[in-house]
Symmetry: C2
Subunit: 165 residues, 2 copies
């Protein structure tokens, strides 16, 4: 079994074309992997989100359009896009271009294969609560990871650690 890949389903992607902000937050949600999101009890297709923290774009997949996307890329319906995305985040193999204000073109590479996605802008009334929830979740994750890191550092005997007096 493949070793789980860090840093999970979130990455910072520099903008490809010079226009717009210098970088974007890119993450996925969906039933195939934990991502950052799924609300408890909510079932949704795999989707990729891109944000500059003001605007939000997404792949808007339904289970049907997701299956069609896989078929277009010559992939089996059981192919796990969350795993692709996680590996690509870890290997800095996600890239994006802001095509115009309303759409983002995103590519995910794995070895010789490349998946391409077109993301459209989420309307402001839907985007605002999602961005708000995203920021709170990111802050919670920072706190949780800091605690885990501190706990693990306490457990780990390190030759660099000065003896406690």
């Amino acid at each position: 079994m493949q070793r789980p890949v860090a840093p999970g389903s979130l990455c910072i992607v520099p903008a490809g074309s010079g226009q717009g902000p210098p970088c974007y937050v890119c993450y996925c949600e969906g039933p195939e992997g934990p991502g950052l999101d799924p609300e408890p009890g909510q079932t949704c297709a795999f989707n990729i989100y891109v944000t500059d923290a003001l605007e939000l774009w997404n792949t808007s997949f339904t289970p049907e359009t997701l299956e069609k996307h896989k078929a277009q890329h010559g992939l089996d319906g059981a192919e796990d896009y969350s795993a692709w995305f996680r590996v690509a985040c870890d290997q800095h193999a996600v890239s994006l271009t802001l095509k115009d204000d309303s759409s983002v073109h995103l590519t995910i590479s794995r070895e010789a294969e490349t998946l391409t996605f077109n993301l459209s802008k989420v309307p402001s009334p839907d985007a605002a609560p999602r961005l708000q929830a995203l920021m709170l979740r990111l802050a919670e994750q920072v706190c949780r990871l800091e605690r885990q890191l501190a706990a693990l550092k306490d457990e780990t005997p390190s030759p660099r650690k000065k003896p406690q007096s």
Copy 2:
């Protein structure tokens, strides 16, 4: 010397009074501690920020008003508020109340001592780029911490870890 305290100068604080969102992100910036912020080369007084990811409130301290605040609390001018804040974040000793839409009352406790702060709302044109920068920094921190955690887990021999085949 006191052991450095996790999780750093950021915490999630539940709202005290039932109104508004269920929780707020609370962080500090300033020359006394790293906080989340200081732009390279920028000198600023210690300040506490509170946000629900839509609105932003801050203490608006200048070096002069910060000194006055310390004096009002019977503290020496050299007292390190960043250290107070860091410890309080770690010990869940930060609490806040939204007094009305425009101001937040915040308390930080350390042992028997309590500091109180009044934060006022940052006008939207100033708040928007700060919130945008905050989200990107939080996402970067999540990625960085995930990488550190993964690296540390790889270094740490654990009896719970299954042998790699």
